[in-house]
Amino acid sequence: MSARSKTLALHVGVILALLLLHFVLPTYHHGNLARIMVLSVYAMGFNLVFGYTGLLSLGHALFFAAGMYGSGLTIAHLGFGAEAAFLAGVVSAFIISAIVGALALRTAGVALMIVTLMFAQAGWYTILYFGEYTRGDEGFVIQRPDRVFWGIDLSDASNRYLVALLLFAATLIITLKFVESRFGRVLVAIRENEERARMLGYDIFRYKLGAVILSGTISGLAGASYGLLFGYVGATFATVQYSILPLLWVLLGGAGTVLGPLVGTAFMTYLIDKSSEYTAAYMIVAGVVLVLLTLFARQGIMGEVRRRFLPWLP
């Protein structure tokens, strides 16, 4: 069995497994998994930049929020339908990631990290500044009638799950195709040895920008879906914490692995959900995990799996 077909089998298998879980999971975990799938779309978007291109962005919350507010505000103030609003969200994430990318990618390393952080911070302040429209920190509800997509009521539990699964599957396949594409392989080359890649004649900036835009747009897609699926648009999603979370998920699951984001997001979500039953300070878990990861498992879960068992894992 060739690596390609193994890969294909594995990922189709994962998607089918998630579909199967739809019928067997108890309500709570069913709902959780729906959220996890949407958030791992966000994580997959982040992974393209962090895991595959080797760029550390601390500002992805800006793209997530761009998607969320792009859809939420158009519904609230322009009376868009869910379909148009969703599109608006993705487009605004696309535009913003293009702008931020074009600027931020002039820097590298530490500077890049701080620049992205600053842009995201400015974005958050902007949301608060235009509180008249965004309702500032309070945020606002997307009412159920506004959450009907192609006649599908997204507030219905099973619809939400299936739509989340659809989004997840689509993103999974896209990222899989992407990282196996020539473009994707160049990104990996850039991550591994930027100077060498340049001296092979690749326009590094163009490739990085491409990665940031795709990554930002996917993050925005996650943000837009999150708003529509869970009915709330709020400024906390634009705060630094929501830039750090995908980093945490991806590191935990395994940077530069296609399935890592899902694994990491699921693992972290349940870790916090469980630990919150024992300690009020459950974010301490996030902290400890981050430190331990850097110390002992920089590859993350799937990274280790790849290293030990499945070298062909993309």
Binding site: R182, E192, R196, M199, G201, I204
Partner: protein
């Protein structure tokens, strides 16, 4: 007709003039060796040729086009290939991928064609059987060969080899010399080299750089005979 030439090419770092007023011409199809003592400015000069270092003044003309202001990756795309002095391969990628990356950039090959060409290129440097292993797992000598294979794989008009035989065993050097000879005719080669045996074995013509300026140019025999060169270079060697 010259594939590459420079006019008054200079570069200074702070007060120090690493390369000054170099006029250099490299005819198509020639294997040119660039030699000179340490700190003669060879690497700086080559750096300016392929765009890794910006020139302070002067011009670089490649294939009839002034490329002085053109960024490195575009010069490569125009048909230059550069192999690093300190091996710089993709350590965590397979040999196959290392070479394939070089092939694909040209964009005119199907995946199948790339695979074929890669195997071909690896066979050329005798690494075909290692295609699957990671670049980082190779011995230093083999990494140098891979480096060269990557250069060759780009099917460049001009191949710039920066001290390619550094750290190679005599056996490997022999293979290298054959490799170079086998390419003469269809590829123009600029070879920065310390090992005079390699130079003498491969170069059609030699340029000697000293204190950032061209000290002498000529056929291997002439250079070997030149007193100035011996004083500046061979004497020390």
């Amino acid at each position: 007709m010259n594939l590459l030439s420079t006019k008054g090419l200079s570069r200074s770092f702070g007060g120090l003039r690493a390369v000054s007023e170099v006029d250099f011409d490299l005819p198509t199809g020639q294997v040119r060796a660039l030699i000179g003592p340490n700190g003669a400015g060879k690497t700086t000069f080559v750096g300016m040729l392929c765009g890794r270092i910006a020139a302070s003044s002067g011009r670089v003309i490649f294939n009839g086009q002034d490329v002085t202001a053109i960024p490195a990756h575009q010069r490569i795309a125009m048909g230059m290939a550069y192999t690093f002095q300190i091996t710089s391969i993709f350590g965590r990628l397979s040999l196959h991928e290392n070479v394939a990356l070089a092939m694909r950039r040209r964009g005119d090959l199907s995946d199948a064609a790339v695979d074929e060409a890669v195997t071909d290129a690896l066979r050329h440097v005798g690494l075909a059987d290692r295609a699957g292993s990671m670049g980082g797992d190779l011995s230093y000598g083999h990494q140098r060969l891979l480096e060269i294979a990557v250069g060759v794989a780009q099917r460049p008009k001009l191949l710039i080899l920066d001290e390619p035989t550094q750290g190679l065993t005599d056996g490997e050097i022999g293979e290298f010399n054959q490799l170079i000879r086998s390419m003469t005719g269809n590829t123009t080669i600029l070879l920065i080299e310390h090992n005079m045996d390699v130079v003498m074995a491969t170069a059609d013509y030699i340029t000697v750089l000293n204190f950032g300026q061209i000290l002498a140019e000529g056929a291997p025999a002439e250079i070997r005979a030149s007193a100035a060169v011996q004083a500046a270079y061979l004497g020390k060697a």
